[in-house]
Amino acid sequence: MRNIGLRMGIVIFAILLGIYTIYPTIRLYTGKNLSKNEEIALSKRAIHLGLDLKGGMHLVLEIDTTNIKEMPQDLRDRAFEIIQNRIDEFGVYEPVIEKHSGGRILVQLPGVDRDRAINLIEKVAHLEFKIVVDERVPDVIEKIDRFLQGGDTLAFEEPFSSYIIGVERDMGIDVRDEDSVKALLARTEEVIPQNLHFLFGTKEVYQGREVKKLYLLKREAELTGETIRDARHQPSSGQDLQHLGSWQISLEFKREAARKFASITGKNINKRLAIVLDDIVQSAPYIQERIPHGKASITGNFTAEEARDLAIVLRAGALPAPLKIVEERTVGPSLGRDSIISGIRAVLIASALVILFMLIYYSLAGFVANIALFLNFFFLIAVLSAFSASLTMPGIAGIALTIGMAVDANVLIFERIREELKIGKTTRTAIDQGFGRAWITIFDSNVTTIIIGVILFIFGSGPIKGFALTLTIGLVANLFSAVFISKVIFNYFTYKFDIHTLRI
């Protein structure tokens, strides 16, 4: 018996090492009453669940450079930083934010409310303070209507003024007319004074219809969001009957901007100051007095969540350019749960079928093959834990497939041993030569499959990587468990019990 002791030592050492690396994973997913700190510590050394299993979103973002002349590289870096800040403040557990080739940004967020998260990421959050010029409205509308009548020979077109309805003390439009009004304003741009422009308010319900207010503003902003030092959400104050029960965002300007804000408010008493976010007027309160302390608030019908998210994006700063989602893969939490259950069920049933099959076909030797199969699975999980790899649904498929293919090595070996026994070799020689001859074949066939696995891992996208990972690790573990360990078992038993006839 050539160094059977040493080989058994190796096997036992490998198993102990495996138990050591698997332990955090088992503790993390089955342990009860784990404290948050324990969980974090364990998850660094445990298998992670992929987004498709725990639910979450995978986004690839691209910067929309249509109106930008800046270097895309710098833009991307700034956008990246801002998104990172926003997500940090939003409080997502284990987010992934990476820069990708082609100026893209990858964002992976496990278990979040999709719409809210997208809103948080996509919002440019360009905040401006602009003076409303109510006094110029009649004049500008008249100019537009005159232009429409004169310019269009058909002259059947509805005048601009016909779209306008009164909303409280402001002018507004019906939401259904929004597109026509936008088109009309775009066509009549030349008669609107260059230093002014129209902007819409948020959607609201007024006297049973959906409307948007329309404001005429100075084009140039008095102040922008960059001058903000802090933004916090808070419930609207008691006197504000219109927004009772809703939330608002209170802003604090930086010192320089606070001085400027004081002077602007001082100069424009009894005028309105519009707070404009991404070209939508949030509110346009009257300036009643000079505001010296550099504080302002954005009111509107915000829910607590909306106000909180808006405060986050304002604190993190505006994106340098709009972002476009070029790829999204979102899995809801319930589908993730279903996937785990069906995945585990498939693996268990596959294992049971294969184990039964091997037992019936090879009896005692089948038992050895099943031990090897179990160890194959064990080492696969151990290696995944050691790398704290992500387990995806295709990854689970890879495990099931590994189980199906893992017995191939044992089948090759057993068939060889049978052949050797048939031509009259002794049990021990048959075992030795069976293993020896089969080894070359097993090695060759595993190498080619591993080649495929590595290619899939390098070139495959998202979920496929998970499959490639489990399949490749599974096959490498297979060489160890099906060949090395089963031979140790065979050698040990034939040696110890002095077996001369082998039923295989």
Partner: protein, 299 residues
């Protein structure tokens, strides 16, 4: 302890023309399907939107199609999952996938106001990204084939290498043909499955080539065809056994693995079946035909 076939001695080589005819027929049909009907490319490659939606009350496919027609997308693919008529996958190629997803969700909330919905899965891929993925995927398949041809030629005779790669194409084309026939989606995951089939098929080819090489050394007096036949017969039990356990695992995946993995498992199932067939009936027969037409002297 069982033996499937005691000392099998089937004349595969003698009957090779049946194998060739059968393969020629199925491959021709598969190619016709691929080129005439065309693969049903998924949104991974075309760009588009996929929504998996679960309603709280049953809905019919026709209802959904009517709703989609109102936003001009009646040609979307609507796939019902399970038997309860509650869960559906809506899938369509779209120039602006994000807008399309929004439009679908909006029209559903208008048309089914009292039927609560949960979005189980939402995927949008810009056409540009789809094109990039396709190029990347084709390169990876090409690279896999080259590496495998290289490895097999290095370890075995180049004739086995080429025969093995022919068998690979045979398996891949047939599997794609079946996917086209049943209109399964051709997604990135399916390509992964095809590569796995290639890996599996080559695995079988290697085991058989290996045995034939060994027999070739031992049976110097026998004719080449007898050597091939003996090799094939000797590994036959192994081929059947391994295929059985692998198929058991894949069947478990297909039946119990859930909707997300179903296309993947289905592709594997078809590929593994044809892969087993080709390793018995195609590989050695190509080598034997080659030897007859262009004999190579025994060393």
């Amino acid at each position: 302890m069982i033996e499937i076939i005691k000392n099998p001695n089937i004349d595969f080589i003698g009957k090779r023309k049946y194998g060739f005819i059968f393969s020629a027929v199925i491959i021709t049909i598969a190619l016709l399907l691929i080129f005439i009907k065309g693969p049903n490319f998924g949104i991974d490659f075309t760009g588009g939107t996929l929504l998996q939606i679960k309603f709280s009350n049953p809905v019919t496919t026709a209802d959904l199609r009517n709703s989609l027609a109102r936003i001009g997308k009646e040609r979307s693919i609507i796939q019902s999952l399970g038997n309860e008529k509650k869960e559906y996958i809506i899938r369509a190629a779209a120039e602006k996938p994000v807008e399309f997803a929004k439009a679908v969700k909006k029209i559903l909330s208008t048309d089914f106001p009292d039927n609560k919905r949960e979005i189980l899965r939402e995927e949008t891929v810009e056409p540009k990204i789809g094109k990039e993925l396709l190029t990347k995927t084709l390169w990876s398949v090409f690279l896999a084939l080259v590496l495998i041809l290289g490895y097999v030629s290095f370890r075995f005779d180049y004739r086995f290498g080429i025969a093995a790669v022919i068998a690979l194409f045979h398996d891949a084309i047939f599997t794609i043909g079946v996917l086209v026939l049943v209109q399964r989606e051709f997604s990135i995951v399916v390509v992964g499955a095809l590569l796995t089939i290639i890996g599996y098929s080559i695995n079988d080819s290697i085991v058989i080539s290996d045995r034939i090489r060994e027999k070739h050394k031992k049976m110097r007096k026998e004719s080449y065809n007898v050597v091939l036949n003996t090799g094939l017969n000797e590994v036959l039990p192994r081929t059947i056994l391994t295929s059985s356990t692998t198929l058991l695992a894949v069947l478990a995946l297909l039946i119990f693995g859930g909707s997300v993995i179903a296309d993947f498992a289905f592709t594997l199932l078809i590929g593994f079946i044809i892969g087993t067939y080709s390793s018995i009936f195609i590989l050695a027969n190509i080598v034997s035909l080659w030897q007859e037409k262009f004999p190579k002297k025994k060393k």
